[in-house]
Amino acid sequence: MQAFKELAEIVRKEKVAEDLYRLTVKAPDIAEFSRPGQFVMVRTVEGMDPLLRRPFSVHQVSGGDMLQIFFKVIGKGTKALAGMEPGQQVDILGPFGQSFTMAEDSLHILVGGGIGTAPLLFLAKHLLKKNEVYSLRVLLGARTGNEIARVAEDFTNLGLTVDIITEDGSLGRQGLVTDLMTELQQDKQIMVYGCGPYPMLRAVAGICRENSWACQVSLETMMACGLAACLGCAVMRADMQGYVYVCKDGPVLDMNEVAWL
């Protein structure tokens, strides 16, 4: 595994919506080696509080040396990050973890919930290298519209069809993203790529099992290192006989590897 430590200059900061930011940083090595689904570990302050780095999916790479992360302000780490300005530097490690496996001859269903959509744009771009637009479908769910409006646009700009559903009905239909899955037509082999909160992923995996669709999910856990060293990011294996480690065996895992507790 090739990983790098870069002091990356922030070149752009976009406030996409309330508490939702997109940061573009110059990190040539990490950008070059990143694959869709992988993540980086970001130091959010110079001091020791908060102590640990924070994990973020690689949202996009561009221009060969630019890396984007797309994040939501949750607690003190993301708050500090949101307070940083272009010109300042952030200390980034990565890329880490397993990327999505690009299925062949499939209908690719990208299912994202809220900020969980972060890694899907990068995935879509990669899939489009070998697949036609009509073999990709993007299903996005969120609590409220402005959480995903902007990313939805980015998918649309790639020529993709995007189905949107929100809990409050403020954008697209009203409901949960899993509602959109029940309407999928099974003309082809299906590969589902799911990213979002754990309960959503569990529901997604349930539907995929029922329909015998293949499914990869990107899991989130607390992480101290991202380096497979602390063993903090354990998730119960499907056979209940041990653990997978999200930073090394994941974050992208086949739904059948995990015990959906």
Partner: protein, 308 residues
């Protein structure tokens, strides 16, 4: 009187280290994990994740939580077990010259003893570090590390079966750590290392449950440094074997404090997670400090703050 190339080497018993900075057990995986980020050859020694005779799956999640300047962990001593350590992890060290120290743990004196005997056959292993913070299952689960007698016993057993340096790693969860240190010295230890993590906990106020599935965990990181430094000071006063300082060391300044307090070497733990290059930068920083201050060797620095 600036010194151009201060002597960075130190000896822990018969083990010669090129510099006094090691990576602490459980915070540096099996070494390989850091190989693309760290120049492993620069390190004084690498101490791998604690090994037991049989593999252990560890505790259920959550296993970690963050606290103010600290990390709480209840990994539950998850490890691949001795066999897989030999077959899967040890070969990586063929290509690396840095001394390899194996941290061991068991539930009974016999387990520690068997681990020592088995590791003794592997020449690549330069020393053993005995983690005595584990509960003694035969004696009601009280940790070996909180009772001087049990600490003595396990040390003695390991030393009988391992012919290279034995380091015993002390738990800070005691009234008087120097008592345990002396017991361990009597038991034949070549060095003591301290501190292991401090027993602690955190509660999630949303769910009203402890954050760690195991309820209690071990606190590490910068938060515990002042406590660790005090214990190293007390221990260095009480034993004549080398003391290896551990606890929150994140910068050259931190490491220097421990050396001045009487530690002969240090271990970098949690800091590896925040900055994988921490140990390397600490080695560099100690050297610069020595040049600036005119210390010709690490030996000269050790315990300097104790002499007024």
């Amino acid at each position: 009187m600036a010194v151009e190339s201060p002597k960075m080497n130190v000896d822990i018993g018969s083990l010669r280290l090129s510099n006094p900075v090691m990576t602490a057990s459980g915070t540096f995986g099996y070494g390989e994990e850091f190989s693309s980020l760290v120049n492993l050859h620069r390190l004084g020694a690498i101490i791998v994740k604690g090994i037991s005779l049989l593999p252990r799956q560890g505790n259920p999640p959550q296993r970690i939580a963050e606290t103010a300047c600290g990390l709480l962990n209840a990994i539950g001593l998850a490890n691949v077990g001795l066999e897989r350590f030999f077959s899967e992890k040890l070969p990586f060290f063929d290509a690396i010259e840095t001394p390899l120290i194996v941290n061991i743990l068991g539930d009974t004196v016999e387990e520690y003893q068997e681990l020592a005997a088995r590791l003794n056959d592997e020449e690549r292993i330069a020393a053993i570090e005995v983690n005595i913070s584990c509960p003694n299952v035969k004696q009601g689960g009280v940790a070996f590390g909180t009772d001087p007698e049990m600490a003595h016993k396990v040390t003695h057993a390991v030393c009988q079966h391992f012919n290279r340096p034995v380091i015993v790693k002390l738990s800070p969860n005691v009234t008087d750590i120097s008592l345990i240190a002396r017991a361990v010295e009597d038991g034949g230890a070549d060095a003591v290392s301290l501190i292991n993590t401090i027993l602690a906990m955190a509660i999630d106020i949303e769910s009203c449950r402890p954050k760690l599935a195991n309820v209690f965990g071990g606190l590490s990181g910068p938060a515990i440094k002042p406590v660790a430094l005090r214990m190293v000071w007390q221990t260095a006063e009480s034993v004549s074997i080398p003391v290896i300082g551990i606890g929150g060391i994140s910068s050259p300044e931190d490491a220097i404090e421990f050396l001045l307090a009487g530690a002969k070497a240090v271990q970098v733990g949690t800091a590896n997670f925040i900055n994988p290059r921490a140990a390397e930068e600490i080695i560099q920083g100690i050297e610069s400090y020595m040049v600036k201050k005119g210390f010709a060797s690490i030996e000269e620095m050790i315990g300097r703050a104790r002499k007024s």
